[in-house]
């Protein structure tokens, strides 16, 4: 078992033992829906571990790109390669995703995590250990028996993140994870993400919150009209954005 409370090095070593999923390569990726091209001929390679932030104005195709990467939707054209392999079930089971709106089952907080572990085929004994660990990680140990859907918005999203982390993914996708949560929960979620990336988990997060992107990103993918306008190190992106769209976005202007 990969113990989330183990030292970062031990955890990373355990992950490496499975053979990493990086690099992630998108080749001429196109996705069309209702006659509209949402993702337009995207070429992208994510090679480094750490946190990649996908940014861009509303309607740029950020969430769709994330779903394509995770295999929730199939591209119209092009291909997605994980360490040179096309997406398959084995790869999908080494990933997890947290959605913008917390998706929680009509069960207790603990049962939500238990269910996810059960679906992934984790045996009962280990399930119990991981449930306790995940709840503790999210600061929800006192809420274990509460119906998940009566938790506050921030607690619900922390629970979703804890559930995803309990699966010990190698890649974690997050779609605007703090869009509708309170500042305290935002801070807790960001801390969990930073901790998770130290443990060797590749994190790909969509956000339109520039402040959050500055706090988290190692590299930034800037998307506009379904195309990757920029991809580079966060430091450089925030100080010297190359495209007009990114400059306007970072300055808080309306990007048309």
């Amino acid at each position: 078992m990969l113990d989330p409370t183990a030292s970062p090095r031990a955890f990373t070593t355990a992950l490496a033992g499975r053979g990493g999923l990086l690099p992630l390569e998108l080749r001429r990726l196109t996705y069309e829906a209702n006659g509209k091209r949402v993702i337009d001929n995207v070429d992208l390679a994510l090679q480094q571990p750490g946190i990649t932030v996908i940014m861009g104005p509303n309607g740029a195709g950020k969430s769709v790109l994330l779903r394509l990467m995770h295999g929730l939707i199939a591209p119209t054209r092009g291909e997605i390669l994980w360490a040179g392999r096309r997406m398959d079930r084995e790869i999908a089971l080494r990933q997890a995703m947290v959605f913008q709106k917390p998706v929680l089952l009509r069960r207790s907080a603990a049962a939500n995590i238990r269910h996810a572990l059960g679906v992934r085929g984790i045996d009962k004994g280990e399930r119990a250990i991981r449930v306790d660990g995940a709840l503790k990680l999210a600061g929800l140990e006192g809420r274990a028996a509460m119906p998940a859907r009566v938790l506050s918005g921030g607690e619900q999203q922390r629970l979703c993140l804890a559930r995803a982390l309990s699966l010990e993914p190698e890649v974690l996708f997050l779609d605007e994870p703090t869009a509708s949560v309170d500042p305290a929960s935002t801070l807790a979620i960001e801390r969990l993400l930073i901790e998770a990336q130290h443990r060797g988990i590749k994190i790909i997060v969509v956000t339109h919150d520039v402040g959050q992107a500055r706090r988290l990103a190692q590299d930034v993918v800037f998307l506009h009209h379904g195309q990757v306008v920029e991809h580079g190190l966060a430091k450089r992106f925030f100080t010297e954005p190359r495209s007009e769209a990114a400059r306007c976005f970072l300055a808080g202007g309306l990007v048309l």
């Binding site: 995770h70 995703m97 089952l105």
Partner: protein, 235 residues
């Protein structure tokens, strides 16, 4: 008016004294309807859950047929089961006609579409919300059906109660396949029909009161389940 008052008085007496004939009819009715609802629920849950999750040709048509069958006239269901179980029918050799088993079969035919259609609706509503999360987890279709049925448990209880309400109040089908034989296949509804035509209003009235109480109890249970589920965010 006096006759009616007397009949009502006698009816209450029959209930209070737990009249053996009345009790026998009530128990048989409950046995038939509860057994039918249990069987229909097992079939309906599986069918409704599968229809919500699996994609196959003809799925839409099947769902539409199921919805339409929710309003299946009991006499038609009774006629259908009669033809199946009669001596010349495909299952005639089983000699089930005019037995409580035949009545159970008829009520299963009536209740299954109700439970299945309501289950499908409940599961589809949940699936709309859970779909991406469950697919992200890599859940198999069977695991998705299991998850939806469990998470829709309170709506499924209401589906079962609705099915029971329909079964216990139904008269046409049990009359046709049961034959309304005294002490064998005589249920509350068929007795009410028979005794009223004979002018024995008291027994009919007593059974009518019992049926009404059952209907109220089912309704109260439905409301309690809904309130509980809403209060604890399980709805």
């Amino acid at each position: 008016m006096t006759e009616l008052t007397e009949a009502f008085h006698t009816a209450l007496q029959l209930i209070v004294t737990l009249d053996s004939k009345l009790l026998g009819i009530v128990l048989l009715s409950l046995k038939v309807s509860l057994t039918a609802v249990a069987i229909a629920s097992l079939i309906g849950f599986a069918l409704g859950g599968a229809l919500a999750v699996y994609r196959f040709p003809g799925r839409g048509t099947l769902a539409a047929i199921l919805s339409a069958l929710m309003g299946l006239p009991p006499v038609v269901a009774g006629l259908f089961v009669y033809l199946l179980l009669s001596n010349t029918g495909p299952f005639g050799v089983l000699q089930l006609l005019y037995t409580p088993t035949a009545m159970i079969v008829a009520q299963v035919v009536i209740v299954t579409p109700i439970v299945a259609a309501l289950t499908r609706q409940a599961c589809e509503d949940l699936l709309e919300e859970y779909d991406e999360q469950l697919r992200s987890l890599g859940a198999s279709s069977a695991a998705i059906v299991g998850t939806l049925l469990w998470d829709g448990r309170y709506r499924l209880v209401t589906a079962v109660l609705a099915g029971f309400g329909r079964a216990i109040a139904e008269v046409g089908a049990v009359m046709i396949v049961g034959g309304n034989i005294d002490h064998v296949t005589r249920t509350m509804t068929t007795t009410i029909a028979l005794e009223t035509s004979k002018g024995n209003i008291a027994l009919a009235l007593a059974l009518g009161i019992v049926l009404l109480v059952i209907a109220f109890a089912v309704n109260a249970a439905l409301m309690s389940v809904r309130r509980f589920a809403a209060r604890f965010a399980y709805a």
